[in-house]
Amino acid sequence: MQINVTINDKLVTWDVKKDEFLVDTLRSHGLLSVKKACDTSCCGLCTVWLEDKPVLSCSILSLRIHGKKITTIEGVPKEAEEFARVLTAEGAEQCGFCSPGFIMNVLAMKNELLNPSEEEIIHYLTGNLCRCTGYMGQLRAVKTYLGVL
């Protein structure tokens, strides 16, 4: 079946299977920043924005996004690079596999919450798992990036 969808501000028409999930559709079209990991909707690695809200692309059927707007990290290169530099400076990245999903959620939080407290930051990012860093470096980086030290 065909869907028309705006991916990173570009309108595209894609053929998708009826039971195909968004993560697979995006990856099959070269958007490889969208990682496939837990497949049980709990790790946050596949995070993209659906109508500017962070969602798990492993749980969204591709047919349901017909006519909608999807943003991946490729669609926000400037903001992503800016935050990635802070992440690196804080030593908050090792293998980097979780970074695209994590960055998308941090940017979504920046758009949604004004001057979040440490508790609010931790709560907002609970759905992003990282098996390398132990989270403290990430928390430092997010606070630095948002200027809420």
């Binding site: 009826k18 946050g44 969602v55 798990l56 349901r64 992003n128």
Partner: protein
């Protein structure tokens, strides 16, 4: 992973119900996060996204919540934060992560009668009704006790009253399912104690609720009611905790819930 042969997005409820009734394996889609964990073979999947059922509004003394409303909308809705001491947003606050709650729908959580549901426990402690396309409007407790039959949950109605309420749970980790969850509410002298994730579906502790509803409460009477709740409900064992652990936990959480409600303004 489930498989599906077709996916439709009907324009009205009558059409959706007709398709649902056509075949046994036709299924309504919610957020799909739980559905995808199983291996169900779905004939036609019915997506209600076109029916404008994603909303929360207040009218005629009720808060009306459309079936396609996400848990995140419940969590961040200003009016819901004010009502019943913000117990509804609190109950969904720790479910996995923001991305997950942006996808999961209220309708699927309630219609599926999940045992682990935090939302059902809380709604049961409030004056909640469900509206089904075929069976009409009925109290949530009647819906939960009703045998499963094919229908579409359209919206939920929560009576806005002066009820004070508290929600508590225990999780092994912040974003895991609850090992046990408890909601306690009080409207004038009428108390309602609900315990969920037992791991069976949420149930009202009727004896404990009745014991509390007798008037002024001493600490001994509160402890007695908490003990009653633990004794009158059944508990089971799963990977998150044993039945005995849950029973002990129930007594503690119910007592804390009652104390919290007594302090509510």
């Amino acid at each position: 992973m489930f498989t599906l042969l077709d996916l439709v997005q009907p324009d009205n409820l009558a059409e959706a119900y007709q398709i649902l009734s056509d075949k046994r394996n036709n299924t309504i889609l919610g957020g799909c996060t739980f559905l995808k964990m199983g291996s169900k073979r779905i004939g036609t999947a019915i997506d209600l996204s076109n029916l404008k059922l994603s909303y929360i509004k207040e009218q005629a003394g009720f808060i009306e919540i459309g079936a396609m409303t996400s848990l995140r909308e419940i969590e961040t809705h200003k009016r819901l934060m004010e009502c019943f001491n913000g117990v509804l947003p609190k109950s969904v606050h720790n479910i996995i992560g923001v991305q997950f709650r942006n996808s999961v729908t209220v309708g699927a959580s309630v219609y599926s009668k999940y045992g682990f549901s935090d939302l059902i426990t809380t709604m049961l402690a409030l004056n909640t009704e469900v509206e089904l396309y075929k069976s009409g409007r009925m109290p949530l407790i009647d819906f939960l006790n009703k045998p499963k039959e094919k229908d579409i949950l359209v919206r939920l109605w929560i009576k806005v009253d002066n009820r004070k309420a508290a929600y508590l749970n225990l999780r092994n980790s912040a974003s895991d399912f609850s090992v046990l969850n408890v909601a306690v509410s009080k409207l004038e002298d009428q108390w309602t104690v609900v315990v969920g994730a037992r791991p069976r579906r949420a149930a009202i502790a009727t004896s404990a609720s009745a014991a509390l509803s007798k008037g002024e409460l001493s600490i001994e009477e509160i402890e007695d009611a908490a003990k009653r709740a633990a004794e009158e409900l059944s508990f089971g064992t799963n990977m998150r905790g044993t039945a005995n652990y849950r029973r002990a936990l129930c007594q503690v959480l119910v007592k804390r819930g009652i104390m919290e409600v007594l302090q509510c303004k």
